[in-house]
Symmetry: C2
Subunit: 121 residues, 2 copies
């Protein structure tokens, strides 16, 4: 068998980096497809296809307004991922991973892996 479909669940859908970028971009407010194309610098068909996947798993919602399709992130659909990963929180608090990791942690202390949701460009 092959890999599970990208549309099988939110886990598979967000595995694609571009789709994560789209979700970040659409988190604050709804946007027409054209805006996403400009922002991510992808071909329009690619964006439409990514949106199709996100839509199929409920990660985005869409609304038509004239010729435009306004998409927005449906944060609720991301919640299961947050919940699942959160189950491991108690372990990363009490676990001493490895000597090597501790050393790395000290070195790159500022690398907090924070994702920023830029409003406009």
């Amino acid at each position: 068998m092959a890999r599970a479909a990208t549309t099988s669940d939110a886990f598979n859908a967000v595995a694609e980096p571009r789709r994560r970028e789209i979700l970040e971009f659409l988190a604050n407010e709804e946007r027409p497809v054209g805006d996403i194309v400009l922002r991510l610098r992808l071909e329009q068909p690619s964006v439409s296809k990514h949106l199709r996947v996100l839509r199929d798993v409920g990660l985005v919602r869409v609304r038509r307004e004239g010729r435009n399709m306004f998409y927005r992130t449906n944060a609720e659909a991301i919640r299961p991922l947050h919940d699942w990963t959160g189950e491991f929180a108690r372990f990363w608090r009490h676990q001493l991973s490895s000597i090597k990791e501790r050393a790395e942690a000290k070195v790159k202390h500022g690398q907090a892996e924070a994702i920023s949701f830029k409003e406009e460009s």
Copy 2:
């Protein structure tokens, strides 16, 4: 191009349901491969291959003891996923995801729509 490799990052690695099960099983304590085989009822080669993927992205650590390979989940590697999904928490708190929810919200608090759907040219 095809899909990104399962070993490209934790997002892709955990997209596979079986690998998530493995991570859950190995969260509390280390286990030899044989235990995972029995637990998940998969063929041993499949388990080994899944473990290889998880190992490549740092989601599990391994230790040899005689003929056995003891694997355990490295929760730290799951943290980035938790952090990323957590960025959307403020949205699922303020967003009304469905008509049903909106109706309930109105009844309970008489709360107005919090998200502004701004238009842009």
